[in-house]
Symmetry: C2
Subunit: 140 residues, 2 copies
């Protein structure tokens, strides 16, 4: 079976607030939006932000909690961008969890929570290739 | 800034159990694994499964909860595959949340929780293109 994920959907409480974080913070533009969901075309898959009530009804499971036990990462191409992106995301409604520093395995990273408490790692990892389309390849 | 996510990291309690779900259920092979993390090369990004203690220490935030307020989706290319994949994932340690049925917006989908309670939607959505590399493009 294809080693493929098609969509990552984050449950949100307030689409306008979420849109500001992803739009003003990351600078991303939705490919589709209505009053309950926004989709962003990403690097080979789709990011969705959906009102939590809609996701819970679709999944047939209530009581989804935050902060959930996961993290998303956006890798940048220079070390200096890490803190700059963290700071910009904080200005767009995020909350910094960890300022940029160097992990034992190399590179540089920090964490920020989006307005719905979903965690984002902003990382510089020179061992992982990122091509012009944003496609990311694991490396050591 | 690139509309790009580099990594999606799921917190897990038991790597062997998680590996069985992703290996035997989805049929995916890690590109790297040690005693605390496994990485899978996906379609333009990387999926990580990391012991929750490691992710929490890295993120500087404890008490990450499950089920978190998000969902991942794996899209298949025929309607009939949806239930077959859900059933195979259940045999590999997953728990079906919703058997396959047709949502109002078209297509066909169901949901299954992985052994760590992370939700996966298995979907057939003929409006979204999936190429031979597994790269997925939003469509309506």
């Amino acid at each position: 079976m294809q080693q493929q994920i098609s969509v990552m959907t984050l449950a949100v409480s307030d689409l306008v607030r979420s849109r500001r974080f992803y739009g003003d913070g990351f600078g991303w533009t939705p490919v589709f939006e209505n009053d309950e969901i926004a989709f962003y075309q990403m690097n080979g898959f789709v990011l969705g932000t959906w009102l939590q009530s809609g996701l819970e009804a679709d999944m047939r499971r209530e009581g989804l909690c935050r902060p959930g036990a996961f993290s998303l990462a956006h890798n940048v191409v220079t070390r200096d961008e890490v803190q700059a992106v963290l700071d910009r995301l904080a200005l767009a409604g995020g909350r910094i969890l960890r300022n940029g520093d160097a992990p034992p395995h190399g590179g540089f990273r920090g964490y920020v929570a989006d307005p719905d408490d979903h965690a984002w790692e902003i990382a510089w990892n020179p061992a992982w290739a990122i091509d012009h389309q944003g496609l990311v390849t694991f490396g050591v």
